[in-house]
């Protein structure tokens, strides 16, 4: 009987009486009960009438009361009793010490009483798992019996009452101090919402998302993962033909303030020109464009990647404006924030934290929010209503805007004593909405209207002097009253007014441009807009591109060619005081709707006049697909930066113009179709990427284990060593040692080759014994093969003199990096291409004209990056849609032969592997069974002894997964492994399977150099749960 069954049985029998025999003693609880009541008097009786030999006798032995018995005998109507009594009395004594010789009425009564109590217990207490009303026969059951106790028969009510109480406790405790209606009332809801967003930050659109999306808690935020409606294809269509809207407010913003030279000097070691443009790029530095850059730890360029970021410099408004203080915003993914912030602080030597209250000119916006938030829990609900009546505090409950989780005392800005650079963390201080797709222009121009200049009519016609007079008058009256005095101030300055008009004109021009991709990448346009809620359409509609606007006039052409002029990139959003003002003086939705309802003509345009908010925003063009040849500019769009608090006010108008909303899944799809790496999943060399991979592996493993072993793929048999994670480090190492081994043999066979010469130059003292060791170890266990190559590396290091990076490597240990040098990537992409395209490609990159990668050509690359990965995109030749963690393999000779012969040849099959763990698992199971049996036989033995060591000694084996250290991953299957796919799916953009992933650089070069020209760049792809290899073409896109 299994353990659970036993337990169930025991539970069922716990109230049932057990057998009571004289020889069994008092093991049973019933027996003890039996003696409990009678123990005392019996004891006394024994004392009163001591028998010399009875001290060790059983309790059942009773004192003899001779006068009692005849009465009992005479008067007892029960024959049995009579018999019994008589029998015991008449029975010969001294037969056995244990046998009671006499019986008295009290003993008799005690025995009966004990039995009655045992039986009562058995009868009254239920022992089954069912509820009381379930034990009733069908015809006695009534509706809602479990709910209403009075519907039960009276004898069962008491038990049912107990049960009901228990069930209530099990249920989740509601805040029952308030009724449903009270809980739904606005104030209490806001309180509740504020409480709930203390742990994870809510975006401003959270409630909207929570109603329509599957929410996940990620990176300290509550984010919408995917819509609850089926919308995969619809979202793709929105991205290509219409417009997709995303809330990217969870992206973090770090602000650097200081002298331009200082900032550039501090940041220059963190990025490299080799990997693309840096912070000092001319377009970006002027503030015209957004730049993107890959950050590394200072002076560690090819390794120790921190993550990709985008940045914008605040444009210099006028040349007269001294370039002393520049502002730089670095936008990054929340997973990268900690590392990058630390590194930035170190690089800029910003160590002194500034108290949040004094850090910026004007009070910091967060403090007020945090104060209000900390106050909230103290206020009692009952008090609040009173307070409102008193009018003492009109707004007791304030919605949390911005970061609700941050500790108010935690510093958010740091200053450097030496250079005066201020780093501040502007996370959640701004909203970032992203529009993707060609219709984003139309939506933007429809939804947003540039703010009206406060004194437009005057300004346009009257001379400057009179404006000043008028304005000063205006100011005198209204500045105290109107909350938007900053805008009035700006309107006084003719320069800024004209700038505003120019910005407005450019913004209007955008409506005539068919796709955001036509505009130079990263263009920034600053703007001040009116309240977008005012011209909200009454119904949700879909904008259509206006053909009238699409005129190919001179202005548009100029805009497309030159982009937005520098001064138009200016926006008041850079000024925190103004942002704070704008956030605080937002008219609530309630007020707005009330005013709308008070309009004389219902549905007519609401005119707020000077009370209308003016919101400074920043529009940033997002380039779409920038790599590769096809679909250039796909997925381009605009990012809108808003001051906090205004998220929903812009969100709804965009949706009312026909934007479809996507979540995290859609942003992954976006990056996949763009063939750009997804943050943080596709950065295996940065810490956030490693964490992400670990988490993903954990989740996948959990999901895998949930299935019964027969219903899940046996990855060991399929030859998939790592179905859930990609062992990049091991892959790169193995390829390195593999190529070395090959070359060793090559040198041995043909010592007069040109390559061998160069090889010898490189490795003058390459010790042969080590390499032979290495070869023998390759098939062996991983720990040894892991340690060997590293040792080899260390011995080789002195030989490869001259490169600075080598010195740093020994300390860090990890040699893994991703190749991001643009020069080499370009070279690689020409090598990867098939022979037909080679000539063109070669001509294009005229410097390195060689279409075939020779060893001489790529040796310097290999030297520089011995263990590097390359980001590649793969397009399947024929059938199949790749999955994440698919394996990229090198095709063998015979595969090409068969492909040449049969154009429809799908690919080879992986033969079945044997599962060495299966027998082990079976053995373990048997051992466990035996142990259990032993435990059962000897329950007295402490379980820790029996169960402890085997559990600790043996690792938990899972059927179908490789346990323990992985053996050589490259040569485990029939085709040599080259890399792994990180994103892969059927691509609706291409109409076929497409995958993105990393391959080992060494392996890729080795493969390319050996493949014939016609089939160069062909690889095999195999999904982790399938034995089928499929042909795919590899491409390195720059």
């Amino acid at each position: 009987m299994s353990n659970a069954k036993e337990r169930k049985h025991a539970k069922k029998m716990r109230n049932q009486p057990t057998n009571v025999t004289l020889s069994s003693g008092f093991v049973a609880d019933r027996g003890t009960k039996y003696h409990n009541g009678g123990g005392r008097p019996f004891h006394q009786a024994q004392k009163q009438e001591p028998f010399p030999g009875t001290s060790r006798q059983r309790q059942t032995k009773m004192t003899h009361h001779s006068p009692m018995d005849p009465d009992v005998k005479e008067q007892s109507s029960s024959k049995i009793m009579f018999k019994k009594k008589g029998g015991w009395k008449a029975g010969p004594e001294g037969m056995s010490q244990e046998i009671p010789k006499y019986i008295t009425a009290s003993t008799f009564a005690q025995a009966r009483a004990a039995e009655i109590s045992a039986m009562l217990k058995a009868v009254t207490q239920k022992s089954s798992n069912s509820l009381v009303f379930q034990t009733l026969p069908r015809h006695m059951r009534r509706r809602a019996m479990s709910h209403n106790v009075k519907r039960l028969p009276r004898r069962l009510r008491e038990i049912a009452q107990k049960e009901a109480e228990k069930a209530v406790h099990q249920k989740k405790e509601h805040s029952k101090n308030k009724c449903h209606k009270a809980r739904r009332c606005h104030k209490n809801r806001v309180l509740e919402f504020n409480r709930r967003q203390k742990k994870n930050i809510w975006l401003e659109t959270h409630i909207w998302h929570a109603k329509r999306f599957h929410m996940v808690k990620k990176w300290g935020y509550c984010l919408g993962e995917r819509p609850t409606v089926k919308s995969h294809r619809a979202c793709y269509r929105a991205m290509t033909n219409r417009c997709l809207l995303q809330d990217l407010s969870y992206y973090c913003c770090l602000e650097l303030k200081g002298k331009e030279e200082d900032i550039l000097k501090a940041l220059s070691p963190m990025c490299s020109i080799d990997a693309g443009l840096t912070f000092a790029a001319v377009h970006c530095l002027s503030g015209r464009r957004q730049g993107s850059v890959l950050l590394y730890r200072a002076n560690r360029y090819p390794r120790e990647m921190l993550g990709p970021v985008t940045f914008i410099w605040k444009s210099e408004r006028t040349p007269s404006h001294t370039s002393e203080s520049r502002q730089l915003w670095i936008w990054l993914h929340p997973t990268l924030k900690q590392d990058i912030l630390e590194e930035l602080k170190a690089a800029c030597q910003c160590v002194e934290p500034i108290k949040p209250t004094v850090c910026t000119p004007g009070p910091l916006p967060t403090t007020s929010e945090e104060k209000s938030q900390t106050e909230l829990p103290d206020e009692k609900i009952g008090k609040k209503r009173k307070r409102k009546d008193d009018g003492e505090n009109g707004k007791p409950v304030k919605k949390v805007i911005g970061d609700g989780t941050r500790d108010p005392h935690q510093p958010s800005s740091w200053i450097s004593a030496a250079t005066g650079i201020i780093i501040s963390d502007l996370t959640m201080e701004m909203n970032r909405l992203r529009l993707i797709g060609p219709l984003s222009h139309s939506i933007l121009t429809e939804a947003l209207k540039a703010a009206s200049v406060q004194t437009v009519r005057v300004n346009a016609t009257v001379v400057l002097y009179s404006t000043h007079v008028l304005l000063s008058k205006f100011e005198g009256e209204d500045t105290e009253k109107t909350p938007h005095h900053w805008w009035i101030e700006t309107c006084k300055n003719p320069d800024s007014v004209s700038l505003h008009h120019r910005q407005e004109a450019i913004f209007e021009l955008l409506g005539g441009i068919t796709s955001p991709a036509e505009i130079p990448a990263g263009t920034i346009l600053g703007l001040t807009v009116g309240d977008p809620r005012i011209n909200l359409p009454p119904k949700r509609s879909k904008v259509l591109p206006n053909p009238e606007k699409c005129q190919d006039n001179e202005k548009v052409r100029q805009l497309l060619l030159e982009g937005v002029p520098v001064d138009c990139a200016h926006s008041f959003i850079w000024n925190q005081a103004i942002c704070k003002n704008v956030t605080e003086n937002k008219i609530s939705d309630q007020d707005l709707n009330r005013r709308r309802s008070e309009l004389l003509v219902p549905g007519s345009q609401l005119v707020l006049g000077p009370q209308e908010s003016k919101i400074p925003i920043l529009l940033i063009q997002q380039p779409g697909k920038v790599t590769g040849d096809d679909r250039r500019g796909w997925g381009s769009g605009w990012d809108i930066l808003l001051p906090k608090g205004w998220g929903m006010a812009f969100w709804i108008p965009f949706i009312y113009r026909g934007a479809r909303v996507g979540g995290l899944k859609e942003s992954v799809m976006h990056s996949q179709y763009k063939r750009s790496p997804d943050i943080p999943g596709d950065f295996p060399d940065c810490p956030a990427g490693v964490v992400f991979a670990e988490e993903q592996a954990k989740n996948l493993l959990e999901k895998y284990k949930r299935r019964p072993p027969a219903k899940r793929p046996n990855y060991v048999k399929l030859g998939t060593l790592a179905p859930f994670c990609c062992p990049w480090e091991q892959l790169a190492q193995e390829w390195e040692s593999r190529v070395q081994a090959q070359e060793e043999s090559f040198v041995a066979s043909s010592p007069s080759g040109e390559d061998s010469d160069s090889r010898r130059d490189k490795l003058p003292g390459a010790p042969t014994p080590e390499n032979t060791d290495l070869q023998s170890d390759e098939g062996g266990t991983s720990p040894s093969s892991c340690s060997e190559p590293r040792e080899v590396m260390d011995t080789e290091c002195p030989a490869q003199v001259g490169t600075a990076w080598v010195a740093g490597q020994d300390a860090t240990g990890s040699l893994l990096c991703v190749l991001r040098s643009r020069k080499w990537l370009k070279q690689l992409s020409t090598w990867c291409g098939p022979s037909s395209r080679d000539k063109r490609a070669a001509r294009r990159t005229s410097g390195s004209g060689e279409p075939t990668p020779t060893r001489a050509a790529y040796l310097p690359l290999l030297e520089r990056f011995p263990r590097a990965l390359v980001w590649v995109s793969l397009a399947l030749l024929r059938k199949g849609s790749p999955e994440p963690h698919s394996m990229i393999c090198v095709p063998a000779e015979e595969d090409f032969l068969r492909l040449r012969g049969d154009q429809l040849y799908c690919g080879p099959q992986e033969s079945k592997h044997s599962d060495p763990f299966k027998s082990e698992i079976r053995k373990q199971k048997e051992r466990k069974k035996v142990e259990k049996r032993q435990n059962k036989q000897a329950p007295s033995e402490p379980e820790g002894l029996a169960g402890g060591p085997p559990a600790a000694g043996h690792r938990a084996l899972t059927l179908g997964l490789w346990s323990g250290p992985l053996p050589g991953v490259t040569s485990h299957c029939s085709r040599v492994l080259l890399g792994f796919v990180t994103q892969g799916d059927f691509s609706m953009a291409v109409g076929g399977g497409e995958a993105l992933g990393f391959v080992s650089l060494t392996g890729l070069l080795d493969m390319l150099s050996t493949q014939p020209a016609a089939e160069r760049g062909l690889v095999l792809l195999r999904a982790p749960a399938s034995p089928q290899y499929r042909f795919a073409r590899i491409a390195v896109e720059v």
């Binding site: 057998n19 609880d29 003696h35 409990n36 309790q59 009465d71 009992v72 029975g91 009425a105």
Partner: protein, 169 residues
């Protein structure tokens, strides 16, 4: 519902010999009844009664025995019970007989019957009791059996265990 229906025979073992109580065990009693059935009803009877036959409860102090058998053949068991005249254990024979108190369809009804039966016995004993000390003792046990429900059982049994241990010494 679909289930095997049983009959439960609540019997009382009556014996003149006090040693008989000592050897009253479920296995001994079960074997005895089986033998008797075989003797009375032959091989067929023994086989048909052996399915589902069990001694479910036994109390040596009061001599109460609860037997279980299948509903179809409980007549065979019932009719065989009077033929038991002695209890044999370890070579000793003690004359005794079984007195059937109740035949029920569930253990529960038998338990309920037993409660009533025992109460009745106690009351009769109380009525017929003459000695004052005895009378008090009996009264005590009667009240105890009646007031059981109000006490918490767990405490009861624990304290009882301790007292029993004391008494054993």
């Amino acid at each position: 519902m679909v289930r095997f229906k049983h009959r439960y025979l609540l019997c009382e073992v009556v014996s003149d010999d006090p040693r008989c109580r000592l050897s009253l065990e479920d296995r001994v009693l079960g074997g005895l009844i089986r033998d008797t059935i075989a003797r009375v009803h032959g091989t067929f009877g023994a086989a048909s009664c052996s399915i589902g036959f069990a001694v479910r409860y036994l109390n040596a102090y009061t001599g109460v025995v609860l037997l279980r058998c299948r509903k179809e053949f409980y007549h065979l068991v019932c009719s065989a019970l009077p033929f038991i005249t002695y209890l044999e254990n370890k070579g000793h024979r003690y004359p005794c007989f079984l007195n059937t108190l109740h035949v029920g369809g569930t253990i529960r009804t038998c338990q309920k019957f037993l409660i009533h039966y025992n109460r009745r016995q106690l009351l009769i004993l109380l009525q017929s009791c003459t000695d004052e000390g005895e009378r008090q003792a009996i009264q005590k046990s009667v009240t105890r059996s009646c007031l059981l429900e109000e006490r918490s059982d767990e405490e009861f049994s624990e304290s009882g265990e301790e007292e029993a241990a004391e008494a054993m010494e």
